[in-house]
Amino acid sequence: MTIKFYDDEISSRFLIGTALYPSPAIMLEAIKASQAEIVTVSLRRESGTEQSGQNFWSFIKDSGAKVLPNTAGCKSVKEAVTTAHMAREIFETPWVKLEVIGEDDSLQPDIFGLVEAARILNEDGFQVFPYTTEDLVVAEKLITAGCEILMPWGAPIGSGRGLNNIYGLRSLRAHFPNIPLIVDAGIGLPSHAAAAMELGYDAVLLNTAVAKAGDPVLMAKAFALAIESGLQCYQADPIEKRDMAAPSTPVAGLPFWNQDHA
């Protein structure tokens, strides 16, 4: 089952980052193993002057995946907008993963700057993937600003803590049933990614959990399986939790010595 991100039909629900791998060769193998169709690329940090990052970017282009350039490291609206323009030129895509960082240590998004930058970029023809929190009001404002996708965090970038606020993420899903929602950041384990998909999220974006694993290629595969598993779980409509175990077979008529175990 495909999903539409702006004008593009996408099959894989796994978006993977391109930073922090032991080598570009391992990065390419991990992307392949992830079966991701979309890779994120950080421009600001790796760019330097316009041409100096070309060699690394050519590896990413070689992966055959669609590039989602990001504005990682930008801390103001102006920086983020400038970086997005640079990305559009280099990768010839209207897509941009918009990050406006509000706090250096946790890399928490500055949601005020985010909404402002999203408005400017959407008006300028960009297709913005905003990295945000699970806050409903911010989400609403991003949509008003023209975003057709939301990317709430699971936990702070690189923390590997999983889904910090499951209730908040669930509310966001319930409030925006028709907006593609991608959990971005904070994922550490495949089970975290599966949990996000089980909540009905449309996709998961991660980087550190794969790139910094002992075997990034194997971990990429593990995440691909988990994300697919979570998606199928959601589609299969799982049972609800109950306060007491529900017997799956009727107890009446069982021999008395089995009653205790029913």
Partner: protein, 344 residues
């Protein structure tokens, strides 16, 4: 014995010269600069010989080459100091220390009092760390001139300030073999080669003394600090996927300095002596390669492992060029076949 023309006077070129000279070859080193100086990456290196720590993210080959190379350096240079490496993390980053330990070998865990015994100036600053007793360090800026004098004593000739154009390099050498060790400058011939930017600082402190390289782990800004003579410390190094060598960014310098400050606040009073920047030559797998093309053999892609890998790679290159290929089997996969008929 055959005549050998080596192009490039960084650690790779000089290592090749050393092994060819040992076989009594007639060796000439051609350098585009004054010899080993700030124009080559080797000048800016930390000089850590840390094959075990590097295993945190490098391929096993680097560890194997590193072990072999350390024996070479131990014999070769008096500035070789086997004092180990200390790896520490702030309380919040202890998960990284755990991971680092899991990925590496040949360490022992040290608690606060043992850290103090190793590095008295770090007393009370870290509760736990990893100590790699077999690792060593030296000052590349002492080793490079030492290598040059050694080579001169062996009859190796140096031709400095000769920048060969691509055209000149396409004409076969008059020597029996040309060894191209130009690092990133060989990009025109080796199209898979890329530069990985690195920024480093040289600071001077009279307050803080360290006996060995100390690594401070951080999820985004890993730092190492290598003590040198006269109160100098090399603080490094960023790893950025671009080839821009025009200058260090404010952000990189800020990050390196804050990490140094986190290691010891007294380093806040240190003087900044130098801010260095260069780009490391690397192939896509970040492993070194020997490539043969007609009479030219390339040794390149040392990445961040020049001092750790160059002598061991040079030894293999010399064996291959002189037709006595005794390289162990595992090495073969990293040597490309003769490319004289193919495209590079």
């Amino acid at each position: 014995m055959p005549s050998i023309e080596i192009i490039g006077s960084g650690i790779t070129g000089l290592s090749c010269a050393a092994f060819f000279a040992e076989r009594n070859c007639d060796v000439t080193v051609i350098s585009s600069s004054n010899g080993p100086d700030e124009s080559c990456c080797s000048w800016w290196a930390g000089g850590m010989l840390a094959p075990w720590c590097e295993m945190e993210s490098a391929e096993p080959l680097i560890g194997e080459l590193g072990l072999e190379t350390m024996k070479f350096w131990e014999k070769f240079t008096s500035s070789y100091q086997k004092k180990g490496t200390l790896v520490v993390a702030t309380p919040r980053d202890l998960p990284d220390l755990k991971r680092f330990g899991r990925r590496t070998e040949n360490w022992r865990q040290v608690k606060e009092d043992q850290i103090t015994a190793l590095e008295p100036d770090l007393a009370g600053r870290f509760t736990t760390g990893l100590y790699y007793p077999e690792e060593a360090h030296f000052d590349p800026r002492q080793v490079l001139p030492e290598l040059v004098s050694y080579l001169e004593s062996k009859g190796v000739k140096f031709q400095t300030n000769i920048s060969l154009s691509n055209q000149e390099l396409n004409v076969p050498s008059k020597a029996d073999h040309r060894i191209d060790c130009r690092g990133l400058a060989a990009q025109d011939h080796l199209n898979e080669l890329r530069g990985v930017k690195g920024e480093m600082l040289l600071i001077k402190s009279n307050e803080v003394k360290l006996s060995r390289p100390v690594r401070l782990l951080h999820p985004r800004i890993p730092l190492y600090i290598v003590p040198r003579d006269n109160g100098l410390f090399m603080v490094g190094a960023t790893m950025i996927e671009n080839e821009n060598r025009s200058g260090a960014t404010v952000r990189s310098v800020l990050e390196l300095l804050s990490a140094a400050y986190a290691l010891h606040p007294a380093l806040g009073e240190a003087e900044i002596i130098e801010i260095g920047v260069d780009a490391r030559p690397a192939f896509p797998d970040n492993l070194p390669r020997i490539l043969h093309k007609g009479k030219t053999t390339y040794l390149n892609g040392m990445y961040r492992h020049g001092y750790l890998a160059a002598p061991a790679m040079a030894k293999r290159l010399v064996e291959q060029v002189l037709g006595e290929n005794t390289a162990p089997d595992h090495f073969e996969q990293f040597c490309e076949p003769d490319l004289s008929t193919g495209n590079m």
